[in-house]
């Protein structure tokens, strides 16, 4: 095995370089779902600004595609780089369990940020979510209901069939529609998946419109989906017939809101997730924050934050609703 001897020789030569870097400032990395997703720019911005303020090193990495296992080599690489904190938006609720356990065994603080390992919470240290995800489904149903007068056919345009967050919200939407008499006259006719790809989302939206001519409202709880749906409604000029709402980025939705294609949509501040993650991680590492359910800590600009059940931390209490009146106040 010539190759191995070669490797060992080189490894020995470079061992010094590795050792010399061990005592540097806290190294934080955030692993996104995939590249080319503008949503993560905003989260990353929060990480960067907080690290600038607090004096830590930050890097963002992400695989090219959002498959279940595509993040594994990236986690392995960060373990190898000796980072102190791994923040991750997991692509799978369980395929990462083993490698995240490896990271934690090496003393790395593992935080899921903007997405969680639902059902496998023991494989990360804490999760940072923008709002309590249990209420997102309910709030989205209320949003579309208020837009269509609580009556008529609605549909859901989601991300991929496996996306854990979206699926959780869809369950919440279905429960709310079934159990709350306020929404008894609203009829969910279809749930379709645009895979968070603009082309597929557009195709699915057009199929919805032709299959359900009486459709009154569409909930797209994903930034790619809502933009694609709004584009279809705008180009067909049917904004008075079909109400598009859901979760979107103000920067991408601004034009649709200004020209009346979309009346209102919701989201939170992704920026604050990164901002909070850094403050929390540094606090846990230096011992000033106890990562225990019920303990509280202060974060500049966000106030007092409480650690909820399952070590879940929220940056805000409720979804922010964006309309023509307030959309110019947000720049992410």
């Amino acid at each position: 095995m010539l190759k191995k001897t070669l490797l060992l020789g080189l490894a020995a030569g470079l061992a010094f370089a590795g050792a010399a870097m061990a005592q540097d400032p806290v190294k934080i990395v955030y692993i996104g779902k995939n590249t080319g997703n503008p949503y993560f720019d905003s989260i990353t911005g929060g990480f960067e600004d907080a690290c600038k303020a607090k004096g830590c090193e930050f890097e963002f990495v992400a695989p090219a595609t959002a498959e279940a296992t595509s993040q594994i080599p990236f986690i392995e690489a960060q373990i190898q780089r000796g980072v102190n904190v791994i923040g991750i938006a997991p692509n799978s609720p369980d395929a990462l369990n083993q490698v995240l356990d490896d990271a934690r065994a090496k003393g790395i603080l593992v935080l899921t940020v903007n997405g969680d390992l639902t059902g496998n919470e023991s494989h990360r240290d804490a999760t940072i979510l923008p709002v309590n995800f249990d209420i997102v489904g309910r709030d989205q149903v209320e949003m579309v209901g208020s837009l269509i007068g609580y009556e008529g056919e609605i549909a859901i345009l989601s991300a991929t069939t496996e996306a854990p967050d979206q699926n959780k919200w869809i369950v919440g939407m279905n429960e709310t529609l079934k159990t709350d008499p306020k929404y008894a006259k609203m009829n969910l006719v279809a749930t379709v998946y645009g895979d968070d790809q603009p082309e597929k989302s557009t195709t699915e939206m057009e199929a919805l419109l032709s299959n359900y001519p009486n459709l009154k409202g569409v909930i797209a709880p994903t930034t790619v989906g809502i933009a694609a749906a709004a584009q279809v409604v705008q180009s067909r000029g049917i904004a008075d017939k079909v109400q598009v709402t859901g979760l979107g980025l103000p920067s991408e939705m601004r034009d649709f809101v200004k020209d009346g294609t979309v009346k209102a949509f919701q989201l939170w501040s992704p920026y604050n997730e990164g901002w909070l993650a850094v403050h929390f991680a540094l606090g846990v590492l230096d011992g000033s924050i106890k990562n225990e359910v019920g303990s509280t800590f202060e974060v500049p600009n966000l106030g007092t934050i409480t650690i909820n059940a399952n070590n879940s931390i929220n940056t805000q209490a409720e979804l922010t609703t964006f309309t023509a009146e307030n959309i110019d106040d947000f720049n992410f």
């Binding site: 070669l6 080189l10 590795g18 590249t35 990495v61 090219a64 279940a68 690489a77 395929a95 369990n97």
Partner: protein, 332 residues
């Protein structure tokens, strides 16, 4: 490793003067793969101080070892003049069948046996359509790729199926400090290398791939050879699928998604000629390491995924051009 080096079948067939011995040994596609591999190791070391760590590289190899094992068998299929694009889907379906059975209470050994048998059956279906019905293997296996993946989704749905705790972690089992999947890969490579390079069966595979008609006239049972190869791909793919299940701790229908391209990439990088008749196990063996070294080196250096794709694409093109150039300039 030198046992894998098949003594090149030199001249003898015609009156052309024999090439000098150094040319026979050195001017071959595997040499290029080896040179690229060495360059890759140096480049990786220059890119990141964390790269040249043998245990990290071995750990990273386990992430690719399942695909690499299948790629070894696929090399023989390609040499025989056929192709099989379904093994990654086969991995998913075998693993789903295995996981579903063990969840339903079937003892693990029996579930593994049924999983392996289903892999064989999938190979047999491919063989039946290619050999029995005389359909082109590329079309057949694109079809079965979709079929097997679809069946896996029928069995597992969108949920993941857990495997028992004791079954998890094949990649954590060390044999003389080397993870078990890597050891298995090396063993499979040695066995197949000897079969292909040192047995009559192996020579017949080359002859079938060079000219099936001529081979049949020479009394070689081409159909039987291809049947054996398709069955072997099926069996090894099923083994790889169950190994992946053990590594990840859970099984989903999207296990190994897109793996067929990685397998073909390994075979091509190793100098296997896509039209059959040429190629070696050694080449694919080296190419698997090359792929891991290059991908891992870039990931641990936080190289942008877009750049990673460009580098991998460029590597493939270089290797195809070099392979064709070498084969066109030399007699076999």
């Amino acid at each position: 490793m030198s046992t894998l080096e098949t003594p090149a079948p030199t001249s003898g067939h015609d009156a052309a003067p024999a090439r000098p011995r150094w040319q026979v040994v050195l001017v071959r596609p595997e040499t290029m793969t080896l040179i690229l591999l060495i360059l890759g190791i140096f480049a990786g070391g220059l890119l990141s101080p964390f790269f040249l760590d043998i245990s990290y590289i071995l750990r990273s190899f386990t992430l690719y070892s399942e695909f690499a094992m299948v790629a070894l068998v696929l090399t023989m299929v390609i040499i025989a003049g056929e192709i099989d694009l379904s093994p990654a889907a086969n991995m998913a379906l075998s693993a789903c069948i295995f996981a579903w059975l063990q969840q339903a209470g079937v003892p693990i050994p029996a579930a593994v046996a049924v999983g392996l048998a289903s892999g064989l059956a999938m190979g047999a279906l491919n063989a039946f359509m290619v050999i029995g019905l005389q359909l082109p293997s590329i079309i057949v296996t694109i079809g079965t790729l979709t079929l097997y993946r679809g069946l896996a989704q029928v069995i597992a749905g969108d949920k993941s199926i857990r495997v028992p705790e004791w079954f998890i972690g094949i990649d954590k089992i060390m044999v003389a400090g080397i993870p078990l999947p890597v050891v298995l890969f090396v063993v499979v490579a040695l066995v197949l290398g000897i079969v292909l390079g040192g047995t009559i069966f192996g020579r017949q595979i080359y002859q079938v791939g060079t000219s099936e008609v001529a081979a049949r006239h020479a009394g070689i049972r081409a159909a039987r050879i291809k049947l054996v190869l398709f069955l072997l791909v099926g069996l090894v793919a099923a083994t790889a699928g169950i190994m992946t299940a053990s590594r990840l701790g859970s099984v989903r229908y999207d296990l190994g998604l897109g793996g067929e391209l990685q397998m073909v990439l390994m075979a091509m990088l190793g100098g296997t000629y896509i039209f059959g008749g040429r190629g070696t196990i050694l080449g694919t063996f080296l190419a698997a390491w090359l792929l891991v070294i290059v991908s891992t080196g870039m990931i641990v250096a936080n190289v942008l995924p877009a750049v990673q794709l460009v580098v991998l694409g460029a590597l493939l093109i270089v290797s195809i051009i070099a392979t064709n150039f070498i084969y066109s300039r030399t007699q076999r």
